[in-house]
């Protein structure tokens, strides 16, 4: 019996680690939906770009730190990648979505698909389609409690996974602070309720939207780095699968709802890991997909989302 509990807890831990990645990406989807009522298909590919930014900048960064992997390198990598991805997000919004602000939803949707495909295929063209090996910026090790703690010592987690979860928590708190305690955050919330009223109150919608894209993309970029330190094999299509799952997570939590996205991400991570552990790895993607269909049929507003009625 204890064996089963230990196994379950281990899966739970693994699921939480994976879930924290999905949570970071899901936040980007949900934030953009909150202010624009639009699903940014290309968001998952920003996550991929983050990983590749790390791939190319990593060796140089390591060099700066005397070729020694460690927390210094990691933190600098995260900062640089987040800023870079934020800029990429803002650029995409400015070039491709902003000109379509007053067009029908379908037009922007198609554009987003175009951007996503362009990033993926462009990535394959620029970086090469075969997987690359992410540089070692953190020396990984396996963490577990000492044997004297009893059976609990059988549980363990990779250092990289633990760091990933820690960084996610820090970033979540940072996001929370921005949204709840800064003027920009308040502007974001105002915009998500009523764009017309927000602009009438003196909020520059364009700036807020750009900021939202940047913030979401920065989180996705961070997720890219955090994934890569756990699984060093990266390829230009890695954003497709992760992006889709993060999207499901955002919908599960309630699209437009920030805590929902975080919750959704963690849930999807755990569900996915449980399916792999207890059912079969081949059904992993199908089950996650099934969750999406189920949610959309039963409660499309998600776990924490509120109903939106169209005014007739």
């Amino acid at each position: 019996m204890a064996d089963k509990i230990i196994l379950f807890l281990q899966q739970l831990i693994n699921g939480l680690a994976q879930g924290s990645i999905y949570a970071l990406i899901a936040l980007g989807y949900t934030m953009v939906f909150g202010v624009l009522r639009f699903i940014n298909f290309a968001h998952g590919d920003v996550y991929m770009l983050g990983a590749f930014a790390g791939f190319y900048i990593g060796p140089r960064m390591l060099h700066l730190f005397g070729d020694k992997p460690g927390y210094g390198v990691l933190v600098s990598m995260l900062l640089v990648t987040m800023i870079l991805c934020a800029l990429i997000g803002v650029l995409i919004e400015w070039l491709c979505y902003r000109p379509l602000r007053d067009r029908p939803k379908l037009t922007v949707l198609i554009t987003a698909i175009g951007v996503s495909l362009f990033l993926e295929n462009g990535g394959q063209f620029l970086f090469g389609a075969d997987p690359k090996s992410f540089p070692e910026i953190l020396t990984d090790s396996y963490l577990s409690l000492p044997e004297s703690w009893g059976r609990i010592s059988e549980l363990g987690i990779q250092l990289s996974a633990a760091i990933s979860m820690l960084v996610t928590v820090i970033l979540l708190f940072g996001l929370r602070h921005i949204v709840l305690h800064t003027k920009m955050g308040m502007a974001m919330r105002a915009l998500s309720f009523n764009p017309v009223a927000a602009s009438l109150m003196g909020i520059n919608n364009s700036v807020v939207i750009a900021f939202t894209f940047g913030l979401g993309s920065a989180l996705a970029g961070a997720a890219g780095i955090l994934t890569s330190i756990q699984q060093p094999s990266i390829d230009p299509l890695m954003g497709v699968n992760a992006g889709l799952k993060a999207f499901v997570a955002a919908v599960l939590g309630g699209i437009g709802n920030l805590p929902g996205a975080a919750l959704g991400g963690i849930l999807i991570g755990v569900i996915e890991t449980m399916v792999v552990g207890y059912v079969s790895p081949t059904y992993r993607d199908a089950i996650v997909f099934g969750v999406l269909i189920l949610i959309l049929l039963v409660k499309p507003t998600g776990l924490l989302g509120a109903s939106e009625q169209e005014k007739v």
Binding site: P104, I113, S116, L117, F118, G122, L296, E310
Partner: protein
């Protein structure tokens, strides 16, 4: 009456051209049949995406159902009506139609839950069902699984391809132009108003979906018996995007535009292949032309930014 006459004439013309073209250069013949198949796919999808305003992103899944369904039938039972070429051709057409019906049934199963969802969600769900269908085929030994399915008899020719293409266009155009068919457009323009005018919006959405799936299934069957080998990866998301691009380029809501786009986008990859072999051009340009998806995605973005109505479509009004 007039339109039916036109259809009949077209079918006769197809028959004539078909017999005349038997000596044609196989490369161009290939492209021609490809055009016909793409017309069926695009005109069918246009009914859903263009005329009814539902954004379906998984059309290749229905094509797969038709391709695999009809192939399995001809491979397993091709001799059932006899072994003369007429008997085998007859069975082939039967298999095509059954493949289409199978695809239509799958369309019904996919459509009924999905069509309740709004734009972006519908797109993702249909994409997902595309992947599910592909996944099922990949795990099905009887259909060749990951290895693909081959050995189909080369039944598809110019006549069958363009006969079905003419039929597809006829069905879509005559349906949409009737009073009954105006319902599709009403659903696209304003679902709430359409319901208020007594139009069962769900029925129309599902109907468009099922019809389009039927034609995609026929196209799949035609394709399978032309290439004589099919593989699950040939019916993935990229293939769905191929078809969607045709509909968008042609102008959603214009069957002529969509057919024209089908012609253009069947020829385009061949042109690109030709360009990528020109030694005089710089290396990077040649590489880009090898990957048609980069160009397609750029095409999508540029189209949406500059001319979202495509070649022949009607421009949707800006939001106030």
């Amino acid at each position: 009456m007039r339109s039916q006459l036109l259809l009949l004439l077209t079918l006769v013309a197809c028959g004539v051209i078909s017999t005349l073209s038997s000596g044609m250069n196989p490369y161009y013949y290939d492209i021609l049949v490809g055009i016909g198949i793409n017309i069926i796919l695009a005109a069918g999808l246009n009914l859903v995406n263009g005329y009814t305003g539902q954004f379906s992103l998984g059309h290749a899944g229905f094509m797969a159902v038709g391709a695999y369904g009809s192939s399995w039938l001809t491979l397993s039972y091709g001799y059932v009506l006899g072994s003369s070429s007429i008997a085998m051709s007859a069975f082939y057409v039967l298999a095509l139609l059954l493949g289409g019906i199978g695809a239509a049934l799958v369309g019904l199963i996919v459509g009924i839950p999905s069509l309740r969802l709004r734009g972006d969600y519908l797109a993702i769900v249909t994409l997902g069902f595309n992947e599910i269908i592909k996944g099922i085929i990949q795990n099905c030994e009887a259909l060749g699984a990951q290895r693909g399915l081959g050995g189909m008899v080369l039944h598809t020719n110019f006549f069958w391809t363009f006969a079905f293409a003419a039929l597809t266009v006829y069905v879509v155009v005559s349906l949409v132009n009737s009073t009954y068919g105006r319902g599709f457009l009403a659903v696209k323009d304003d679902e709430i108003a359409a319901e208020a005018m007594g139009i069962n919006t769900t029925k129309y959405k599902v109907l468009a979906f099922v019809l389009a799936a039927f034609f995609a299934g026929i196209a799949g069957g035609l394709y399978a018996h032309f290439k004589q080998f099919i593989h699950p990866e040939g019916f993935n998301f990229i293939k769905s995007v191929d078809i969607v691009v045709m509909v968008i380029l042609g102008g959603m809501g214009s069957t002529i535009g969509v057919c024209l786009a089908a012609v253009l986008l069947t020829i385009l990859p061949e042109l690109l292949r030709y360009v990528s072999r020109i030694d005089a051009l710089p290396e990077w340009l040649r590489h880009v032309t090898e990957n048609r998806m980069i160009l397609y995605s750029l095409l999508l973005i540029i189209l949406m930014l500059t001319r979202p109505q495509g070649l022949f479509g009607v421009r949707l009004p800006r939001k106030k």
